[in-house]
Amino acid sequence: MPPDHAADRNRESEGRSSASLVRDPIDPAAVLARVGGPRDGAVVLFLGTVRDHHDGRAVRGLTYEAYEEMATAVLHELVQGTLEGLREGSVHAVHRLGPLGIGEVAVAVAVSSPHRGPAFEAARLLMEELKRRLPVWKHEYYAEGDSDWVAGVPLVPDSRPGSGK
């Protein structure tokens, strides 16, 4: 176990971020496996799960729809931006599409970092950004049999490089 060499290898592989949209169930263990390393002392995992109620109505399930090409690009940019803010560590994000039942994981975000403060901050900010910027829509199915699109957040014009081309 030569920790000095391990540390060198890790320093080289700094800057790890990844993201994906999936239609199969999200496995938290697989999400955790995408982050962490010998220089990281903190891992924060956030899971957004499907609740059985919303705005006072009983919910029995929902379907996520996405503008997939754009959502993939935005998600990659968000995790990359999060990693740049962290400087050291790793970031992974995955959002599920299609039909989901109560309790299923809709979104997972994992951040690793040498210290816990930055890991908590980064995971939380990434979730805020994701909710504001990801072109994904939620259609809820209610216990009473009806269904509706969930009121969301209007997207704002893009300040990413290249958006004004």
Binding site: G48, Y64, E65, A66, Y67, E69, M70, A71, A73, H95, A106, V107, M127, L130, K131, R132, R133, L134, P135, V136, W137, K138, H139, W149, V150, A151, G152, V153, P154, L155, V156, P157, D158, R160, G162, S163, G164
Partner: protein, 92 residues
């Protein structure tokens, strides 16, 4: 990024994409409309509203993305571009 090449559209039209509630209002996921030369997005919208009934009453808060980036009315739309109508988002 050469998006218009990727999309493989004829260079004399733009592709309109509709999502979620916009898709339901439009009654379709996709429309191709002719466009001969570059035009500001705001101007394009004025033209489209006259020709595409679905665009006459967009729900509040709808954003428009050109080639997968949210754009304002001054954004230039070029033949071959992809123009998407995105209601308020609710991911996560």
């Amino acid at each position: 990024m050469g998006f218009s090449e990727e999309a493989g559209l004829p260079e004399s039209s733009v592709r309109l994409l509709f999502f979620a509630r916009c898709r339901e209002l439009a009654g379709c996921e996709e429309l191709e409309v002719p466009l001969a030369s570059p035009i500001a997005l705001g101007e394009l919208m004025e033209t489209l509203r006259l020709r595409v009934p679905a665009l006459q009453a967009l729900p509040p808060g709808v954003a428009i993305a050109v080639n997968r980036r949210v754009a304002g009315p001054s954004r230039t739309v070029t033949p071959g571009d992809e123009v998407a109508f995105l209601p308020p988002v609710a991911g996560g």
